[in-house]
Every structure is written in structure tokens, then in C-alpha cells.
Symmetry: D2
Subunit: 116 residues, 4 copies
């Protein structure tokens, strides 16, 4: 038994949530891509005028910490719903992308100090 929420279980909760409220007609791939982009911008908005020091301390303030958690949740929610309507396996897509990036950006050896 586990109490940790599981990504697949959360995706199914989101699907059931939208279905119970009859939101499926709005949840087209294009609208969900728009919503994902809008939520990613709302997360970015929190940081827009912050210095690097203020940005690094954003979780120290209860209100801004709540806002950050709220926005990352919204981004993931729309990403999962987008993947659901198009039948995309999100975790497999990320695993494949990391594989490709490991070929594209080979790991530098211990004496290689060049930066990316």
C-alpha cells in the first residue's frame, strides 16, 4: 500500500473530473495546448521582476510558495489532459527524449572543462 499519488492515477482523476462536469467538448487538443501555455506563463509571471536571489528564495514565503505549487499543478494537469486526448504516453516520451539527448550532448570526460 502506498500513499504517494501516482501519475497515472492523477491523470485518471483529471479525466473523470472533466467528464463529470461535461467539459470534454472544450478539451480539444488545441485548447489544451493553449491552456498549458497560459499556465506556464502564469508560473513565469511569479518570477518576472525578481532578482536571482529573490527567485531562489520564492519558497520561503508561504504565499508565493502556494502560488508556485498551484501553477506547477496546473501545468501538469493540462499536460496530462493533452496527452490523454491525443493518446501520448508522457513518461515514455520523456524517457525517449533523455535517450536522444544523451547521444546529442555526450557526457564530458573528467578532464574536459568545456561548458555547454
Amino acid at each position: 500500500m502506498t500513499e504517494r499519488p501516482d501519475l497515472a492515477a492523477l491523470q485518471q482523476r483529471l479525466v473523470a473530473f472533466a467528464a463529470a462536469r461535461r467539459w470534454e467538448p472544450y478539451h480539444t487538443p488545441k485548447n489544451l495546448a493553449v491552456a498549458l501555455s497560459v499556465e506556464a506563463s502564469e508560473l513565469l509571471e511569479i518570477f518576472q521582476w525578481l532578482t536571482p536571489e529573490q527567485a531562489a528564495a520564492v519558497m520561503d514565503d508561504a504565499e508565493s510558495a502556494h502560488r508556485v505549487r498551484d501553477e506547477v499543478a496546473d501545468v501538469l494537469a493540462y499536460l496530462l489532459q493533452f496527452c490523454e486526448v491525443l493518446g501520448v504516453d508522457l513518461l515514455a516520451a520523456l524517457a525517449a527524449k533523455i535517450d536522444r539527448n544523451e547521444e546529442r550532448f555526450p557526457r564530458p570526460g573528467p578532464a574536459d572543462h568545456s561548458s555547454g
Copy 2:
């Protein structure tokens, strides 16, 4: 034993990948929020001139399907790295958000045909 990629394992691969390439100085919270927003827009760009019918068929074409999988992977990659640097538990944040939404948008009863 499981062969399915696990979200926590993918997050650790991303952390190790960036560390091996010494990219951590670039991976500030603000830069990662910018990168997340840029990737969400690249996903949206695929759909910008498509009709609803074309958008719904986007996975039928091998090239555009690859592009979609590539962009959702990038969005999740930056979202996980953002959460890592700020110590945010992404799955817990989404579970809490769904809980709040269930209170905010009560489920309509069987005879309730009002739309959201």
C-alpha cells in the same frame, strides 16, 4: 521489477544529466520557468494554424506525432527540473490542486445540465 519509466527515476536522470554537463549554473528557478514557458509555446506552435479536425488528427502523421512527443517531453523535463531546484513535490501539488478543484467546482447531479 518494472520496465515502465517512473517519474521520480526520470527526474533523477535529468538531474544527473545536467550535473554531468555542468549546466547547474544556468538552471536557476527563473531560467527554468522561462524554458518551460518557451517549450509550452513550441508545443502550441504545432497547432496554431490547424483546424479542430487537423488538430485532432495530429498523431496520424509520423512527423508531427514525433514533434508532439518531443515537445511534451521538453515541457515535462523543464517542469521536473524546476520542481527539483525549488524542492517542490510535483505530484503532491497536483493531488492537492485536484482536491481544491473538487470543492470549487462541485460535481453536478444527474439532473443538472448546466455547463461549466
Copy 3:
């Protein structure tokens, strides 16, 4: 004598406005590019769940019309301030881009019914 606001005059009002409030340290090129992107997303947010018919009628409702005018103003304000801090001539940039596009997408002849 004209009463129409002029783009260059508006740009100078924005510069003076920020200077009087000592906001210049925040108005770095990167921060202004972030702010421009955030405002463009706020404009998009108005349309995210609208059908094409609802979107076309958005100016018929006084409140949403005000919101649209407010967001396009914000987008232009940050675009002008971005161009100001980097010394970019915005109108010359657009004129040059239209020139390039006229070469890149030649105008179809009267019998050419192919679509773009």
C-alpha cells in the same frame, strides 16, 4: 495639428513613466522579454475556451472588450520598452520583415488557387 497618439510619443511617455518611478533597474532586456511574453499569454487567456463564433464576438461585450484593449496595450507597452532599451527601431524592423516575406511568399497569380 493632430490628436491621434503617435507611436514615438507613446514610447517616450513609457520611458518617462518608468524613469519617474525608478523602474529602470527592473527593465532589463531579459525581464522585458519575459513581461512581453506574459502579457501576450494574458491576451490569449481571454480566448482559450471560446469557440470561433464566441471569439469573433469578443468586442460586443463591454467587459471583455475592455480586457482585450487592456492586454493589447500591455503587449505594445512592453514591446516598445524592450525596443527602447536595446535600441531597436521597431517600425523599421517590421518594414524590413514585410519586404523579406514578400520575397519568401510570392503573391499568387490570378489563376493560382493553391493555399498557404
Copy 4:
């Protein structure tokens, strides 16, 4: 007589350009708001991994300067086309917004060193 490009004249060139290529069916308010947001992100992408110093020097390099001018042109092009299809007077909207902001953020007096 002036050789400076004029905003209204550029807007008319964009309208004629799209009409000649029969792109009007694609240029719905929602699609243009998406395109504007995508272009603003492409401008932001140039800056995503730059330090403040690198960002301030972006116009010193011919290639990145060209890219910046190209993206600000695209942002303005879609903003003008969006305003055209919805009948929004962009310059009047910005003038009205600056008026409102002057009331909302009163100018500090000479001895007032509080920051915004």
C-alpha cells in the same frame, strides 16, 4: 514627405499581404492571439540562458541582432493583424492604458525614495 514607415501604413501592408495570399480564413482572432503568443516566446527564447550582461550585449552580435529584429517584427505584425480583425485601435488603447497607469502608480515626489 516622410520616408519613415508609418504604423497605419504597415498595418495596411499586412492586411493586403494576407488577402493576396488568401490567408484570411486562418487569421481568426483566436489563431492570431496564439500566433502573437508563440512569437513573443520566440523572442524570449533568445534570452533564456543568457546572463544579464550577455542579454544587454545581444545587439552587438550581427546574427543575434538580426534574430531580435526579426522576432519583434513578428510580434508587432500579429498584434496589428489581431487588432485589425477585431477593430481595436491599438494606439488609442495604449494611450488610455498609460493614462490609467499614471493614476494607479502616482509619480513619487523628489524626496520619495520608495521603490515600486
